[in-house]
Symmetry: C2
Subunit: 492 residues, 2 copies
């Protein structure tokens, strides 16, 4: 075998072990008995140690030196680029630090869930302080003297920086604030009320998952506290949640996670268990989940079909017609929870987290001051006070998992989704007609053909450019939002 | 740290990775989408490769040489004995053979399930032939020129041999055949009939699991095709199955698996993620599952309580009173399926498998002739012909998993259960009174204190001797069976 083939065989095993780590994460949230937390932390640390050792293995360094990238085809060069990036990252982070992060975040996740249930921020802060300290150490090891938070972002969105995101957020904010202000001054669509049995919601969720092309023979749907998607290749599992007073929570969590899953399931089988064989970045991933959830799932066309499905599933539920239902689905309203936020306000939630976690990483904010900082900033942005920690700084799982740098990729995903949707509308000329029949095949097929199938073949930015045919910009997203909500709320 | 501490730290990580492998096995049976089989095979092979490399790591060999066992306490010496056994085994089996076995058995398991569903033996034979060939290679590597099948047995029952089992089986057979013949000539208790909703069965199963001391905060109960127990320490999961015409299948599968789980959950936390921290052998494990299921669960005392529970759960179900119910539970009847066999005939099923798999391993039986050999032997032992493969050689998952040498430990477990039960009846003087109230605490507590808590501290034989206070013998088991069934069937 050539050196490249040897490297790919080695990488194949590393990828398989990485899939196992992902599945343990799924198990921990969806299946694991609560008393198993401490043992699971040991198991995750053990596996993380093995993965780290493989990624930083001296053999990999030798292969990377001995292989001439120019002798490979484009795919081979992309594999090399991804393996090299992983190797460089892994050799910078000491193995014991990586294992300790795995151990502590596994434990802290359980403590976060308990603290959230108990509305007890103080119970969570000691372990969060540990997590922040460990992640800062990791960031310093990665940053080469640059901004620690940039190194964190790079784990989720290669080649992106906090400075660039700041510029993007500063461009978004005034137009979003303006739009939000105009909307909240106008009349509000009817709110959903009533009781929607959880079993019926789960049945509808599975139907919607299939409607958006989720392949159940290579996945499954389970209930968790905080929905996520897990796995690549032939085993891509999604999770959702139910609230019997709010079926939209379940419906749109499901469609969102199906967007993530469709990306992983849509990647060419040629790339199975190779570095290319998974989504290229969180921002691009989020572009898929958000375009499924919002541009498609919350469109007037699709909600007209969904209105009939809801009526079939739950009987009459207090909304008189599809047009009113469209308003209800897209109702802009005050609220505390990011994952329940409407499209207009969602990015304000992200900007809050972006600024706070950047400050935590830079050392400009201490963990003990986090709750106050969150509550002050929330009041400043949204105009009312946080009422309880589960509606405030305990609402998201991310920080307990050490996922600093992850939040801004949600807004980046919205921007990317805007770029893709603009192009998709040109490519699929009768999109609305199809969506009004609940037929997503042309839309999701376009995404699969132009983006999903390629996995990590290109960099994140190139991936979006390849699919959309243009340099990524926040303009299409803002135009989409302003057009949709001006029309919906009859703004002038 | 001392060399011993270093070795134990290394062993701790290996044990944690071993727990992950076990959980993947659980996932594959209980949760995994069917389209993920091929990818899972790669994942299992990757993890098996890592485990094999750790067990055979030269560092372990050096530690084993440098550490003076005599300088350690009894626990330390037991840890050394177990690590040494694993190391010697692992260095004998080439890494690529171990990985190939993991890969092929992961795939063959899916093919077995499909072949079983399709009643298609031929579809299963090619992959079974691969499994047999790989396991024979492994056996030859382990056997040091001795009997290949002995090496296989040693994986599940250290220090046991086919010759010794043959002697035991030859002693059991005539008395079992005699007892069976007398029973089948006498009148038969009433058979259960009717429909028992699966949801109610699962609810009762969970109640019974708790009744026998299963700790739900460190485990969970799910439905699968072929029930099993998985995991050690803080995460021990059981599975069961339901058949709406036969609630005993679910009830006694559950109690059986709880017996296994109680052993793992009962081991002292001091041994968590160490070699001592898991059941010492399959035979001893099976002694726990069988004593829970049979000596306790199928006793007149316990079934009088279960009769009331069944009536509460399902309403009147056609059996008039507790004494009739005891007869129905213990009804000796013709049947094809090992796991559904009564206590009297169960070991005849085992002896059939023991002889066939020994012949497969010795090369005296070819895979292509397996179905005929099975069917001929079944007819000889049971007096009627196998009607379909799922009632014949496709009924058990074991061979598809490469678990040759495992079956005889079931009968060994029955013998051990007989030894333990004889002693337990002396130690817990009012056992029947307690069981008739559905109170298993004294019985299961006695097992935990005298056997379960010690894990693998002693060898299998010593474990039984320590608990029962006597050299293991098949006499108590035969006496128990003959007494119980002579009385039940009014044999003279």
């Amino acid at each position: 075998m050539s050196d490249f083939e040897d490297l790919m065989a080695f990488s194949h095993i590393t990828a398989a072990l990485g899939q196992i780590a992902g599945r343990l994460g799924w198990d921990q949230e969806a299946m694991m008995p609560r008393g198993a937390v401490e043992q699971r932390a040991e198991e995750m640390a053990a596996l993380e140690g093995v993965l780290h050792a493989r990624k930083a293995d001296a053999k990999v360094g030798e292969w990377l030196s001995s292989i001439d990238d120019a002798s490979l085809d484009g795919t081979g060069q992309a594999q090399m680029r991804l393996i090299r990036k992983d190797y460089v990252r892994s050799t910078k982070v000491p193995a014991d630090l990586a294992a300790e992060i795995a151990r502590v975040t596994s434990r802290s996740q359980g403590q976060w869930a308990q603290a959230r249930a108990d509305e007890d921020v103080k119970a969570f802060l000691p372990v969060l302080k540990e997590v922040v300290s460990l992640k800062r150490q990791e960031g310093q090891a990665l940053a080469d003297g640059g901004e620690v938070y940039d190194a964190m972002i790079g784990d989720y969105e290669p080649e992106m920086t906090a400075a660039e995101l700041s510029i993007m957020f500063n461009a978004l904010r005034p137009r979003l604030v303006d739009l939000r202000s105009k909307i909240l001054q106008s009349g509000s669509p009817k709110e959903l009320s009533g009781t929607f049995p959880e079993g019926v919601q789960m049945k509808l969720a599975r139907k919607l998952a299939r409607c958006f092309g989720y392949d159940m023979s290579h996945g499954r749907v389970d209930k968790v506290v905080h929905p996520f998607c897990s796995g690549s290749g032939l085993d891509v599992r999604i999770t959702t949640r139910t609230n019997e007073n709010d079926p939209f929570n379940c419906i749109y969590s499901t469609i969102h996670e199906v967007g993530h899953a469709a990306y992983e399931q849509g990647i060419s089988r040629d790339y199975l268990l190779t570095p290319i064989g998974q989504g290229v970045s969180m921002g691009v991933h989020e572009s898929q989940s958000r375009i499924y959830e919002n541009q498609l799932g919350r469109s007037r066309a699709f909600t007209s079909w969904l209105f009939d499905e809801m009526t079939r599933a739950f009987g009459a539920f207090g909304i008189s017609d599809a047009e009113s239902f469209y308003g209800t689905v897209n109702r802009v309203h005050n609220g505390y929870i990011r994952t329940e936020a409407d499209e207009v306000q969602y990015n304000l939630h992200i900007m809050l987290r972006f600024d706070l976690e950047r400050a935590l990483m830079d050392g400009n904010l201490q963990v003990k001051d986090l709750e106050t900082a969150w509550n002050d900033r929330f009041c400043q942005d949204f105009g009312y006070r946080v009422d309880k920690p589960s509606n405030g700084c305990l609402q998201d799982v991310h920080w307990s998992l050490g996922l600093f740098g992850y939040f801004p990729t949600y807004s980046l995903g919205n921007v990317y989704a805007g770029c893709l949707y603009e192009k998709m509308r040109v490519a699929v000329s009768d999109l609305d007609t199809q969506l009004s029949r609940g037929d997503t095949r042309a839309a999701t097929g376009w995404l699969r053909d132009n983006l999903q199938q390629h996995g990590s073949l290109r960099t994140p930015r190139e991936t979006i450019m390849h699919a959309s045919g243009a340099v990524p910009s926040s303009t299409p997203f803002l135009t989409y939002l302003e057009t949709k909500f001006s029309e919906l709320y009859r703004l002038t």
